[in-house]
């Protein structure tokens, strides 16, 4: 039952082969013809020896010899034809599946990516797909060919001498029983191997991304120990797989030989009692000998098939995950950027209590609101609700009166741009990083955005805007990264600009310059600014205090400072300091 359900994973991939049906047909024809020619060639040799050579018929030698030559060439050509033709469908399947997987992964929301390690995703996109490719490449073909070959031989055997033929057929029973049992266990262990390979990839990724932290603490040994443990676990699991398949492969090979011994014994006895001629027995045993290879390779191919099935399961696990966040039908033609949180609430999946609840907040077009709250109070989460990086779990968020869930994702996300608290940069050119949200920006727009963010230092990089910045922008200083991320958000020319604590890594003087420039930008777009410092708060027209998971106060900075002790504690502590004592 399980087998049927799970093998359907592999079966479901068949649509990827549909564009290649003609090639597939050609492959099958070439394969069958190749086998037929392979059988005929020895017959021609025998014909030459038994015919012209034995009877001294020199005239017939040449044509027959040329026939052998032609057939030999034809066999090679057919093999070539099969191998060459199969390249396109097999690679086509793999490539298309990988494209689709990637496309799908890009559509899956943050909540999915929170849970899934990229090592696991990667192992699906590479290792698993190549297993599937190999199965479709030759496993499937040989499986069918082997079964045909086995069927033919057994039919011949039954035709030759049915009692002995039945005996041979009977040995299929233990083989099938073994295969079914093997299949069940092998599938489990091969799935486990694939999962552990993904875990190992995850550890590798962490060790590379966290290299600075590892170095800073000198924890190479510690990290290595973790990796080594996982690598040894994988080693152990693969060895279990090896032992399992070694036992199965061996049994599958021994069974035909035991059958042969039985055939010999019973056949000889039958000859002794006159029920069988010696010639038939010879022919019979020769045929039984020929069964050995297809049967034993069947074992190998079954194993490959199992692996392909679990690989397909793993790939489809991802492809079958429905994107929880999909767009609605509405496109905002002329967005004004009127943002309202209407009783919005959010709970992380699996978390006990919501991070946000009953958030009511209105940001009018052109207005800027500062969101202030303690560390971990949910500010970042709140800002993620607007571009639907996360979806509210209660209430709703609207832009220009439309629930954000009714807008198409593209429309929504072109209205809102965010500069994240951690500048997410890619190892690409500066230009490409900047134009992430606006691929059609002109040089002038680029310069303007860079000037606003005080990030014109990029023009001084060795290749200017074409310089590649290291992974995650690591070849830049912390403040440079942050300014670049800010410039990117500005360049997107959104109606709603979200700045999530984006000035934290700047020195005071640069910060003041950026703030002055941002004031300009924010004067005609809607702004949501997350702030820990009074200086940033001053960018905003009003302040929303986030506390206990909801917006408790909205008002002007000075007003809240005077009225709300909690707000004062959060922001004004700097001011409470005795300015002269601050540095001693």
């Amino acid at each position: 039952m399980r087998s049927v359900v799970e093998s359907s994973s592999l079966w479901r991939l068949k649509s990827y082969l549909r564009p290649h049906l003609r090639a597939l047909a050609l492959i099958w024809v070439a394969a069958t013809a190749g086998i037929a020619v392979g059988i005929v060639i020895p017959l021609v040799s025998r014909e030459i020896i038994d015919g012209p050579v034995r009877h001294g018929d020199a005239g017939a030698l040449l044509p027959l010899g040329l026939l052998a030559l032609g057939l030999g060439a034809a066999e090679a050509f057919l093999i070539f034809l099969r191998r060459w033709t199969q390249v396109r469908p097999v690679l086509g399947l793999e490539t298309a599946l990988r494209d689709d997987l990637y496309r799908h992964l890009q559509r899956l929301p943050m909540s999915f990516h929170d849970e899934w390690q990229s090592g696991q995703l990667l192992s699906r996109a590479t290792t698993d797909l190549s297993v599937i490719r190999r199965f479709f490449g030759f496993g499937l073909l040989f499986l069918v060919m082997n079964v045909i070959q086995l069927g033919t031989v057994i039919a011949l055997l039954l035709h030759m001498h049915w009692p002995l033929g039945l005996l041979v057929l009977g040995t299929a029973v233990p083989i099938i029983v073994l295969s079914v049992r093997f299949e069940r266990r092998y599938r489990k262990v091969s799935r486990q191997v694939q999962d552990e390979q993904g875990d190992l990839a995850t550890l590798v990724e962490e060790s590379a991304l966290g290299i600075r932290t590892i170095k800073a603490f000198g924890r190479r040994q510690h990290v290595y120990a973790g990796y080594d443990e996982a690598a040894r676990r994988l080693h152990g699991t693969i060895m279990r797989k090896v032992r399992l398949s070694a036992r199965f492969f061996t049994l599958v090979e021994v069974i035909p030989n035991v059958t042969l011994a039985l055939v010999l014994l019973l056949g000889a006895l039958a000859v002794g009692s006159g029920g069988l001629t010696v010639g038939t027995l010879v022919a019979f045993t020769t045929l039984v000998l020929q069964l050995g290879w297809p049967v034993s390779s069947l074992g190998y191919i079954l194993a490959l098939g199992q692996e392909a099935m679990t690989a397909a399961d793993r790939v489809l696990e991802v492809l079958d995950t429905r994107p929880a966040i999909t767009g609605g039908p509405i496109v905002l033609e002329r967005p004004r950027g009127h943002v309202r949180f209407e009783g919005a609430g959010f709970r992380f999946p699996g978390a006990g209590r919501p991070v946000l609840h009953d958030v009511w907040l209105e940001v009018r077009p052109g207005e800027t609101v500062a969101v202030v709250g303690a560390t971990g109070s949910g500010k970042t989460t709140l800002t993620a609700l607007v571009p639907r990086l996360r979806d509210v779990t209660a209430g709703r968020v609207t832009i220009d009166g439309h629930d954000v869930r009714d807008l198409t994702l593209a429309s929504l996300r072109s209205v809102v741009a965010t500069a994240f608290e951690e500048p997410t940069l890619f190892s690409m050119s500066v230009r490409e990083n900047l134009m992430l949200g606006n691929p059609r920006a002109t040089e002038r727009e680029l310069r303007e955005a860079l000037e606003i963010a005080q990030a014109t230092f990029v023009y001084d990089l060795p290749w200017g805007l074409d310089t590649r910045i290291g992974e995650q922008g690591m070849s830049l200083s912390g403040g440079q990264r942050q300014r670049l991320a800010l410039a990117r958000a500005v360049l997107a020319r959104p109606r709603v600009l979200v700045l999530d604590d984006t000035l934290s890594a700047l020195d005071v003087e640069t910060e003041a310059l950026v703030e002055a420039a941002l004031k300009e930008v924010l004067s005609d777009v809607t702004g949501i600014v997350v702030a820990h410092r009074a200086s940033t708060v001053l960018l905003a027209d009003k302040v929303a205090l986030l506390s206990g998971g909801t917006v408790t106060h909205v008002g002007r900075h000075q007003e809240l400072l005077a009225r709300v002790p909690e707000y004062r504690a959060l922001l004004a502590q700097d001011a409470d300091l005795d300015p002269e004592g601050a540095l001693r």
């Binding site: 690679l91 590379a208 021994v254 030989n257 490409e432």
Partner: protein, 628 residues
């Protein structure tokens, strides 16, 4: 449905900037995986990978010898079976017909069973042993490469990117594992069969044997051609898959920005191009083997036909007997048949070879920050120690402009120093030189009078710990992450560290307290929470020299206060270097260094600098204005 055509979306390719092909940008160093001079590499790299292969195989010499024995026994047992059947029929049946006891028959049947059993046993032993050897080799390779990557400097990793590291340790290792699992047994049998039948051919008839072996040079030429072409093709496969993985990993890591900025289309386009490159590389190698394998088959088949003609002609003229010719043809078939197995194996060897070459290339990277030939010890018995000196330190990356210009600086043990200055001035770089993330281009950095380059890593890391600007959390629990500072710390110590810096409250409030999983890269924590955990981590590590690079920048003011209060106690008697833009953080410093454009422009106790009305005084005034 979001899949519906969307007028607001940029119309795919039309939105691509003109410099589309240059999206990757220009870097100072050549792309590690871009193919360079081909012929040159063939010579150079294969030597390196062969040495690596040798080193990996050497410990398994005995096992490999045993494997060969097992194969030979198993093959012999396999060959004995048809022979025993023939004996059973030829010698076992006549006594039966004559009505005698079936002794010979039973012996033959017993023989077949015995041989089958022997074959089974040796085969199973072979499969297990070869599996073990293969997996041991892979494990060793994984360990070596992983350790080596960890030794290489952060500068290397910036350029190489995590994606490529992953590619090396997954995809390349798997290519090798495929070869290890691809019928080593059949190769040995094939070689033995080849040798045996070649001898048989020569014994049977030298003239015919000569004709039969005549095409061998063609085979050799074909193989040489294939080797050259496929080496390049498989190398290309490794390179393209690495680029594919880099892009994949990076877009998954930055998925938040990808989605927020509607980068999906462009990413998809880039990915599909990389995927197509990878497919083309694969296609090339598959096409090559689609030529090579039937090529060997063709040579074999043509040879058989030629021998048939020539032998037939000889037989007609009576210079060979028909029996010899028949036998010869049978053996000839056996000679060319194993060629298929060999060429199949050769294909996977080529593929593995390209992967091995890449791994050997990684192993050949010398760490830019290398350990000392002979480690010096830190002078002991001088209290906590941790004095830092720099003499004429200069730093630049690659051949770019210098980031730091000749800096001379001495920090006495126990002093708390604040580094301030505009962004991009070189503060982090200066700090990283002390933590030996890089080595200076000129000059030296001393710790208690010892050049950092003479210290072994363990001593250095025990003494100097740095909290980097970008703190990284490993997936695991909060406690695991704090314990990263000192892996043998007890739970109580972990809690004490968190308490000391004021992180206990929030951790205790998490669903599973200290056992809450932080998610990948700490994604389940808020930015400030991540900084607190990173701070607790360094608190627990308790080093003599502590470097804090913007360690509190994302905290709210009260939390920052708590951390500062904790720092006042922690830093007492410790050498510390604090980098911060919020000058409140540096108030505990006894000395302030102002860095600008890679130079120290002011140096002295804060009071004096304020009185001097220089850069620091100006910075501080701006700061006071900003918080007013």
């Amino acid at each position: 449905m979001s899949a519906a055509p969307d007028p607001a979306a940029p119309p795919g390719a039309a939105g691509v900037p003109p410099a589309a092909a240059g999206w990757r940008g220009v870097a100072a160093e050549p792309e590690p995986d871009e193919p360079r001079g081909r012929a040159f590499l063939l010579l150079d790299r294969s030597g390196r990978s062969r040495r690596l292969l040798g080193a990996l195989l050497r410990p398994h010499r005995a096992a490999i010898a045993l494997l060969v024995v097992l194969i030979v026994v198993s093959a012999a047992a396999g060959l004995a079976i048809p022979y025993l059947v023939k004996v059973g029929i030829d010698a076992g049946i006549p006594p039966l017909v004559a009505g005698h006891a079936p002794a010979t028959l039973l012996a033959a049947v017993g023989g077949v069973l015995g041989a089958a059993l022997l074959q089974g046993l040796t085969r199973q032993a072979f499969l297990r042993l070869s599996g073990r050897v293969g997996q041991d080799i892979l494990l060793e390779l994984r360990r070596r490469v992983f350790t080596h990557f960890q030794r290489l400097s952060p500068a290397f990793h910036e350029r190489y990117t995590s994606g490529r590291v992953i590619a090396r340790l997954t995809s390349d290792v798997e290519a090798i594992s495929e070869m290890l699992g691809s019928g080593f047994d059949r190769v040995v049998t094939a070689v033995l069969t080849l040798a045996g039948t070649a001898a048989m051919l020569l014994v049977l008839d030298a003239r015919l044997a000569l004709v039969a072996l005549l095409p061998l040079p063609v085979l050799v030429l074909l193989t040489l051609w294939y080797r050259r072409e496929s080496a390049a093709a498989y190398r290309r496969t490794r390179e393209t898959v690495a680029l594919l993985i880099v892009h994949f990993v990076e877009s998954m890591t930055g998925i938040r920005a990808v989605q927020a900025f509607r980068r999906e289309e462009r990413n998809q386009e880039i990915f599909e191009r990389l995927n197509a490159d990878y497919r083309d590389a694969n296609r090339r190698s598959m096409h090559l083997s689609a030529l090579y394998m039937p090529g060997t088959k063709l040579i074999g088949n043509v040879t058989v036909a030629l021998v048939l003609l020539y032998g037939g002609w000889l037989a007609l003229h009576g210079s060979v007997t028909v029996g010899v010719l028949a036998a010869f043809l049978l053996y000839l078939r056996q000679f060319y048949e194993p060629m298929q197995d060999l060429s199949q194996f050769y294909t996977s060897v080529q593929s593995a070879g390209a992967a091995l070459e890449k791994l050997a290339g990684v192993l050949a990277e010398r760490p830019a920050v290398a350990g000392p030939a002979r480690a010096a010890a830190l002078p002991s018995g001088r209290g906590p120690g941790g004095g830092v000196g720099r003499e004429g330190v200069e730093f630049r990356s690659g051949d770019g402009p210098p980031v730091l210009h000749r800096i001379d600086l001495a920090i006495p043990a126990g002093q708390t120093v604040a580094l301030v200055g505009p962004t991009g001035a070189g503060k982090t770089t200066l700090a990283k030189l002390i933590a030996r993330f890089y080595d200076p281009v000129a000059g030296r950095v001393l710790l208690d009078g010892v050049d950092l380059r003479d210290l072994d890593e363990a001593t250095l890391r025990r003494t100097v710990v740095m909290v980097t600007q970008e703190n990284f959390l490993f997936s695991g629990t909060v406690a695991d992450n704090i314990r990263f500072g000192r892996p043998d710390a007890t739970m109580a110590e972990v809690v004490a560290a968190a308490r000391a810096i004021g992180a206990h409250e929030f951790i205790a409030g998490l669903p599973d307290g200290y056992h809450t999983r932080v998610g990948k890269r700490g994604g389940r924590m808020s930015a400030g929470q991540r900084q607190l955990v990173a701070f607790a981590r360094v608190f627990l590590a308790d080093p003599a020299v502590l470097i804090l690079d913007e360690a509190t920048s994302s905290l709210d003011v009260p939390s920052e206060r708590l951390v500062q209060r904790a720092m006042a106690t922690v830093l007492a008697g410790r050498t510390a270097l604090i980098i911060a833009h919020r000058l409140s953080t540096v108030e505990i410093a006894q000395r302030v260094l102002v860095v600008e454009d890679g130079r120290i422009v002011e140096d002295g106790p804060p009071d004096r600098l304020i009185a001097a009305a220089g850069r620091f005084a100006a910075l501080r005034r701006a700061w006071l204005d900003s918080i007013a």
